[in-house]
Amino acid sequence: MKNEIYTQEKSRELFERALKVLPTGIPGHLGPVQSQFIPTSAYPLYADRVKDSYFWDLDGNKYIDYMCAYGPNVLGYNNEIVDKAARSQYEKGNCMALPGKVQVELAELLVDTIEIADWALFMKNGGDATSFARMIAKAATGRDKAIMVEGGYHGVAPWTQPLTHAGITQADVDNNLKVPWNDVEAVERLIEKYPGQIASFMATPYDHRVFTDNQLPADGYWQKIRKICDDNGIILIIDDVRCGFRLDIEGSAKYFGFKPDLACYCKALANGYNMSAVVGVQSLKESASKIFYTGSYWSSAAPMAAAIACIKELKRIDGPKLMIKQGTKLTKGLIKAASASGLDLRISGVPSMFYMRLTNDDSLMMQQEFCAECAKRGVFFASHHNHFINCSLTDEDIEKTISVASEAFAIVANNNPHRLGK
C-alpha cells in the first residue's frame, strides 16, 4: 500500500513571516539549512504538537521522529511521569531567590547513577557544560591548552568553532590542539610538543560527527588515553551530551570501559526540560568550587524535578537497553528494505544513536533523496546526522517506518540507475 504524500503550506506561510523578523527565519540547528532539509520543499518547518515518538506539523501531518529534538526526547515526548514531576515543582516554585530542595536531590541521584560522579553541577545547555568542564581542567592544572578530536562537536561557544566561522577570532581558538579520532600516537606527539602545557583531553565517547560514518573507539583506545592523561597530569573530559543515557545509564564511559575525570550531560537528562550537568571525580571538586560560573535560570527547580523523574524512569525501564534493542530492530529492517531495491545502506554508531548512509554514491545525494521521500510520507530522518531512538518507539512505529523507507528506497533506486550500474 502506498503511503500518503504530505504538503506543508502552513509551515511555508509562517516561514515567510519569520524571514522578516528572525535572521535566517529559523535560527540555529533546527533551521532548514542547518537541518539539511534537501530539498526544503519536502520537509515541515514547524511543529505544532508532540507525543511519544511523533510530532505533528502546522498542517496536521504526523511524523515518526527519529531526531527526537536532536536528543532530548528520550522517554517519549510529553512523558506523563516527567511532566507531572515538573508541573508539581512549577506549582511550588521554579525560578526562585534560593535553589530548591531538588538541586540536592538531583545531585545525589547523579552521584548514585553515573559511575565516576562524586559531585554534580547544573546548567542549561550542553555548551554550558563543556565550557565549564574545560574551565575546571584549567583551574585544576594551571595550564591552558586542550586536546580535542577533529570534527568533534562540543557546542557553539567560540572555542568550539573553527577559526573560519563568522565571529571567531584567533584568540578564541589559540589553545585548541586537534587530533584525529582513534589516533593515540597523535595525542602522544602533542604531549611531547607541549610538555606541561595541556590541561585537558575532551572527546565524545565515540566519533559521531556529521556527514560521516560514525566510528566506535578502537580496542584499548580509551584505556590508552586514560593512561596518557594520568601520566601527564591531563584532565580527561567526556562530552556525553549526545550519547548520555542512550548507551548506559551509568554513563557512556562505562559502556566503553574507562573512567573519565569529568563528564558532561544535557539532552536526555530531563526529557526536554532545559537542564545540563557536569559531574566529576572527588579530586576536582575543589577546582569546580573555585570557579564562578552561573546563569539566571541555572538553579530553576522544575527542570531539576523533571531530570530526577526522567533518570528514575530510565532506570526503571532500563532505557538504554530498550533503545539499543529498538534501534537494532529498526536498522536491520532498513538495511533489508534498502537491499530489496538494490541499495547498500550502511549503519554505523550505537543502534540507539545510529547514523545511516547509502554507500552507492559518495555525495550523499541519494541519501538526501531517501530522507526527503521519507519526510514526505511522515518519517523524519536527517541525511547528515546520527539519529536518536526514544523509549516510546513501538514495533508498529518501526513497521510503518520500514514500509515508508521501502517505498522511498525504490524511488531513489529508480531515479539513480547510473549510480547503480544500470
Binding site: F15, E16, L19, P23, T24, G25, I26, G31, P32, V33, Q36, I38, P39, T40, S41, P162, L163, T164, H165, A166, F211, D362, S363, L364, M365, Q368, H384
Partner: protein, 251 residues
C-alpha cells in the same frame, strides 16, 4: 584584510578574465578586436603570471608564461592592482610596435569591463545589461573564490577543509561554474559537470544577482527555495567563508 598578492591574482584571473566573456557576449567588444590576433603576457614580480590571448574573436586567459606578442611587467602586485584601478601604467618589455593595441582597443575593452561590472544609473533595468552584469559578476566572484582559497590566509584554511570533488554552482537554465577541489587546492572552469559531488543552484539570474550583490543572504535563499543545495554539504559549508571574502578583494 586584503592581501595585495591575492588581490592581484583576483584581478588577473577573475576580473581581467572577464574579457573572455565580453568577446563572446558583447557584440561591440567583439567588433573592437575584429581581426586581432595577439597575446599579452602579464608578469607581476612576486605575483601572478598570466597570458591573455585574443584570437579569432575569442579571448582566453591562461596562467603562466605562454607565447606572446606583448609583455607587460609590473614591479609588484600592488603595481598591478593600481593599473587595474587606472592609477598606474605597466612597463612594456616586448611588443613596442603593438602598443597601439594596448592604448586603443585594449583600453576600450577595459572600459567595457568596468561598464558591465560597475552598473550606474538605471543600467540594470535593461535586461540585456542585467544578464551580462550578473553573469560576469558570477564568473568573477567564483574565479576569485578559487584564488582566495589558494592564497589568502583565512581562505586557505577553509579551502583545506573542503572535501575533494566537483562543486557545481549553477543558475537554473543559465550559466554553470565548476569548482574542482583537490587536496585543498581549488580551480574553476565554466560549464556544467555531469557528476558533481555538491551543487549550489540559484533559481534564476535575478536570485543570483541578489546574492552576489548582498541583497539576499544564502540562508534565506536556501530556506525559501530561491536557492537550493544538494550533495556533500561540507564542500558548501567550507566554501561559504571563502565566498564571504570575495567582496574584500573585488570591491
Amino acid at each position: 584584510m586584503s592581501d595585495s598578492l591575492v588581490k592581484a591574482r583576483c584581478n588577473l584571473f577573475a576580473v581581467l578574465r572577464g574579457i573572455e566573456y565580453l568577446l563572446e557576449n558583447d557584440s561591440e567588444s567583439a567588433e573592437m578586436v575584429k581581426g586581432t590576433n595577439l597575446s599579452i603576457q602579464f608578469i607581476v614580480k612576486n605575483g601572478p603570471i598570466g597570458n591573455l590571448s585574443i584570437k579569432n574573436g575569442k579571448g582566453e586567459m591562461l596562467e603562466g608564461k605562454h607565447k606572446s606578442n606583448i609583455v607587460l611587467y609590473f614591479t609588484s602586485p600592488d603595481h598591478f592592482n593600481r593599473m587595474i584601478d587606472g592609477k598606474a601604467n605597466p612597463i612594456p618589455l616586448k611588443g613596442f610596435t603593438k602598443l597601439g593595441f594596448l592604448t586603443g582597443p585594449f583600453m576600450k575593452l577595459a572600459d567595457k569591463l568596468n561598464y558591465y561590472l560597475r552598473p550606474e544609473g538605471d543600467l540594470l533595468k535593461n535586461p540585456d545589461y542585467f544578464k551580462i552584469n550578473t553573469e560576469m559578476t558570477a564568473y568573477a566572484a567564483f574565479f576569485a573564490l578559487a584564488e582566495i582559497a589558494n592564497y589568502d590566509r583565512m581562505g586557505k584554511m577553509s579551502g583545506k577543509s573542503m572535501p575533494d570533488g566537483i562543486l557545481q554552482v549553477k543558475v537554473e537554465d543559465g550559466i554553470g561554474i565548476q569548482i574542482k577541489v583537490s587536496r585543498g587546492n581549488l580551480s574553476c572552469t565554466k560549464g556544467d559537470h555531469k557528476d558533481p559531488r555538491a551543487v549550489l543552484s540559484f533559481r534564476n539570474l535575478d536570485v543570483a544577482h541578489q546574492v552576489l550583490n548582498g541583497k539576499l543572504d544564502t540562508f534565506t535563499g536556501l530556506g525559501n527555495g530561491k536557492m537550493s543545495m544538494k550533495g556533500f554539504i561540507p564542500m558548501l559549508d567550507n566554501m561559504n567563508p571563502i565566498l564571504d571574502l570575495v567582496p574584500v578583494y573585488l570591491s
